[in-house]
């Protein structure tokens, strides 16, 4: 389990994020209660309030809402905001979930990640749970997540 510290007086109040789907170009949504499974590609960002399983690519920002869950192998060509679950809920570590984020991964205080997370940058918030491994992704070291999965 990860231990976190906060000793910066600037951070006395919490960070907020305005999710503006139009300005952030989040044109896709999986609503709460819906479950989508398969090999998927989203052109434009995705607001995930339901469950998404399988593999694929999201060209844009991905917001995993408080009720959302993402499992499988996905490549995010943009920033990732984790407010819900990334990986299995019941597992300590979900070895089948691998997310490659080309931008910044933000794990909010309500976010839980049990899968493997690869991101160019990571920002954690107090209370966030990062149980699965995290690896820094350098631009020249972009891991071909989908290619490897498709070839296997």
């Amino acid at each position: 389990m990860t231990h976190w510290h906060n000793d910066d007086p600037l951070d006395a109040s919490h960070d907020t994020l305005v999710i503006d789907p139009v300005k952030m170009n989040i044109v896709n949504r999986i609503a709460e209660g819906s479950a989508v499974d398969g090999d998927l590609r989203f052109d434009g960002g995705l607001l995930l309030q339901g469950t998404l399983r399988g593999m694929g690519e999201i060209t844009g920002r991905l917001v995993i809402w408080h009720t959302g869950q993402l499992q499988g192998r996905f490549k995010v060509l943009g920033d990732l905001y984790v407010l819900g679950h990334l990986g299995g809920v019941a597992d300590d570590i979900d070895r089948d979930t691998l997310i490659e984020c080309q931008g910044t991964a933000y794990v909010a205080s309500t976010g839980v990640s049990t899968g493997t997370l690869l991101a160019a940058r990571l920002r954690m918030y107090d209370g966030a749970v990062l149980q699965g491994p995290f690896k820094t992704l350098r631009p020249e070291q972009s891991v071909p997540v989908l290619q490897a999965a498709r070839n296997s």
Partner: protein, 110 residues
Amino acid sequence: MQDPSSSAGTQQFFTEQIVGLPIRITLGRRLAKADQPTRGVLVSGVSGRVEVMQLAALSLLADDPAQALAGRPVNGPALLRARRGWLIGGLLLWSVLLWGAFHVLEHGFP
């Protein structure tokens, strides 16, 4: 409301209707530093001051401040303080420049 007959208007209409209107969420308290000694991972966070100053400047200068801040988590009170700092700093700089210009006009170059 956008004209739904245009392509951009249609896209915006459906985005607003299906994905939703802008919403503000709280991410939590930003971590200054984190360590995970058992796995050998060390993540050092930045204080955020530089980023807040950049965002404040961007939001002051941008035609659309909301666009400049879109998708960027920010500490609201810190952003307000930073904006105020930029404005006061700009005002002071402008005053000094004015004073300098009048000084030069009155006394000539030294």
